[in-house]
Symmetry: C2
Subunit: 580 residues, 2 copies
Amino acid sequence: MANILDKISTVADIKKLDSEELNSLCAEIRNCILTKVSKVGGHLGPNLGIIELTVALHYVFNSPSDKFVWDVSHQAYAHKILTGRKEAFQFEDKYKTVTGFTSHRESEHDFFTVGHTSTSVSLASGLAKARDIKGTKENIVAIIGDGSLSGGEAFEGLDNVAEFKSNFITIVNDNEMSIAENHGGIYGNLALLRKTKGTAETNLFKALGFKYVYIEEGNNVNVLIEELQKIKDIQEPIVVHVHTQKGKGYSYAENYRERFHWTPPFDIETGNPLGQNSTETYKRVVINHITDKIHEDNRIVVINAAVPGALDLVQFRENHPEKYFDVGIAEEHAIAFSSGLASQGMKPIAFFPSTFIQRAYDQISQDLCINSNPAVIMVENAGISGADVTHLGMFDIPMMSNIPNLVYLAPANKEEVTAMIDWALEQTDFPVALRISASSIKELKSKLSLKYELNKFEKVTEGSKVAIIGVGNFFSLGEEVAEQLKKKGITPTLINPRFITGSDEELLTSLLENHDTVVTLEDGVVNGGFGEKIASFFGPTSMKVFNYGAQKEFTDAVPLDQLYKKYHLTPEQIVEDILK
Amino acid sequence: MANILDKISTVADIKKLDSEELNSLCAEIRNCILTKVSKVGGHLGPNLGIIELTVALHYVFNSPSDKFVWDVSHQAYAHKILTGRKEAFQFEDKYKTVTGFTSHRESEHDFFTVGHTSTSVSLASGLAKARDIKGTKENIVAIIGDGSLSGGEAFEGLDNVAEFKSNFITIVNDNEMSIAENHGGIYGNLALLRKTKGTAETNLFKALGFKYVYIEEGNNVNVLIEELQKIKDIQEPIVVHVHTQKGKGYSYAENYRERFHWTPPFDIETGNPLGQNSTETYKRVVINHITDKIHEDNRIVVINAAVPGALDLVQFRENHPEKYFDVGIAEEHAIAFSSGLASQGMKPIAFFPSTFIQRAYDQISQDLCINSNPAVIMVENAGISGADVTHLGMFDIPMMSNIPNLVYLAPANKEEVTAMIDWALEQTDFPVALRISASSIKELKSKLSLKYELNKFEKVTEGSKVAIIGVGNFFSLGEEVAEQLKKKGITPTLINPRFITGSDEELLTSLLENHDTVVTLEDGVVNGGFGEKIASFFGPTSMKVFNYGAQKEFTDAVPLDQLYKKYHLTPEQIVEDILK
């Protein structure tokens, strides 16, 4: 058979295909996606499951005049292939020409740059209201996975658009899974609706005021087209509940749905990951230590908001299901739940990637910190990175460390990770967060004390003239800077601050005696962070202060070494600055 | 009839009352609340509506062993009266001995200090899970108003507890209103359930997996007791939907439900507010100007999340309903909705009090700023204040100003408020937020330029030695400091930075020529704020920098003058510091 994908230059070309060609197109897209992801990694399961739906959407609607908003947008590979970006999936040398998510800078078919879940309905609601005010007539289509429905923002959006009096189409792509298994009462209702082919009276979407239709054959492109044509141009809010299969068409992804949600490069024949990375991580140190601790202290429980894989919690979940609570994609609830547990003497440890804890700023402040409940928060995958713009982990210090009552700790090596977990669990006065670096584990030359007193920094090496304060995993950068300064005849004082949220005024004041320069190093954005507080402390004195960290900017998949150079974060650059 | 309230020393005493006495108790509580609120202001409608339910809850359950969690807790006055704090409502000289919200520091019957909405179910879920792990048997009861149900955190909580296999009682106190009118699809379902006395098949709570009962006579204490006794000790999650009347028993509050949700002191006979405050506010300046602008530019629309009264938007809502979108208590959605609107060339202006915008940190960062959509955000009621701990407006600078792409403006007087609104609406490159002070309007001695270029500060007065940078409404404090310094022989440079999120490096560098001291003044917490960035900028130089603002702490209804003294924010204190 001829190659159909070659015929698709614009989305208009899809509409010229017959039923059989549409099936072939889906198969070709599937092959592209499978091949690319097997070579460079990426979101596999969600993309394989939604190919037919994507083709059908582009067949029935007229993008970009009709507007698709993809929730999380990790399922938008087929959409990218169909909207002028197929080469980025066909040719290995072009793989990197597109991002892994929708990007408003990449295509007129992408209305938003998205990477956090549960936002599609709200974002699309703005498109719909703008349309109504302008008096145009296009369809607005939000495509949201069942997993994303547990997030509060999705509910707020659905609750609002249910009252719209005009076209608004919410496609619920129900593959029976979140990133991991689903958690929450709504999933009982989705199961009932699937079981009854959408006919059950008890219907969450109808209760919210939506018109509702159910499509069982969510991986049958011709059925999808037929059904979608019926609701195109509908003049009221509707939920189209589509039953799809996560990982469709690749048996390993069908059978191991969690493992193939996002996967590193793998062998297509065996499904096995290529180039196994066995490096020990800080994440592993954390969960191994907590696994040890739960045998000593039955008050410890682990809370997670739907990302056990990304946080290396899968094994813990399997071995200790009674100690593990996955609340689904519900970060706000995760913090409030933890606060409630801690108020009753339990020792909840709530795990988040730095980028997703952003969802819970108010809950950390109000539900947790005002109440001073001693829950423990692990902020993982933290630090400057080459991540996609939506998944940066470098804003948690300004976000969290300026909230009163919170103690935010920055372990400098793996011994300190475990010692700080112990300290956090033993004390009962404060909520305590630990900043767990995304970097690989580094062995320090220094020996740390591992004894903690609130807001007391540790002078690890006593020197003079220059004092270097290296926060968390950047303490090792401080060691490197110190090493190079020694070669220039300066033996600097080296400080491990340990407490991001504190200021050891006694120690800082003592530096004034025989230092004229303080250097702060933090693995995150400088604005609003740790170093600026040191600069402010020394503001009224003659001490010179240099703050190092990232600039306040959104970077998008920029290689880490480029960022370090740009931010003057190599030891050589720092030494040069100081000597100037 | 004897005074029943006098007999109530502990909650156990309630259980000794007969049916008639219970009614009398409710009447006495109603009288206490009405009298107190008429004299000192407070939440009236919510409290009058829930008296019978509160008495019934305390009659049926055994607090604090059974645990009540009150959502927002602005309806907890009767609960306070019944739990050892009645004098604070009976005697004028004791009025101030309790806060307006539940407080875990105030009573063993209050499990959390709460003031933001939609948290009760999540917080209570932690109490329930702790109970199950410990193996105790108490009832956990979350009491949540219909208005609070639109908040995403409430949904996340409900979705999670629906899967619990043990006792969890959610009381939905349905008074048919949020703070203002309800907005969202769920309210259609609540109306249907009220209309069908809970019998409708379409039932949001059942769809989530809850057992469900409906109580129509929510202001009949005896009926409530009878019904609650039936579900006490239930071993599964249940929603008890109680229909109550907001403002019950005081005709003005029954008829003017929005006005009497929260009210300043008023005359009980006429319902008229006492001591009308006609002072012009910055809020009024804002909405008056926007009202003018909508006639010139039909792309402008106003977004608000359920607090039109607090933000002086009621008149605008009445006069321009087609330009006004109240999304209900749904701050996350409000930002994403605004981003969607702005992406289509609309000019949404979203209004929040500083304390509630905390709910939307991630949406500001991801949904709005990564997408660079030029929505406008009004952050009102901002600044250090004597507010309750849950309603402080002094954390928005660290929260917002460290997010890339956002332009955060601080108008220094009312002319600048309007000029900055114009600037924000004219540009299309960035999301722009304006920080609108809670303070009264001050006339400046200086004349400001009102011409803006991104991140350019204005040198309002050229001086030497000392430069004072006064952010927003604290520019006037800068003027006062300058005045006093002049008397000491120093004519300082006075700077209006205008851009909280920017740093005018050229202007700052120029200060090095003939200044040795820079003073920053900001009406918010210093940590993570504006001043620290100035200190960091000058860190490597010999410039002395003094940062003034609030300490990082939660204050709870501490009078403003006390706070100013504590934070060294009087002109005298600042001058003394500088001269030292």
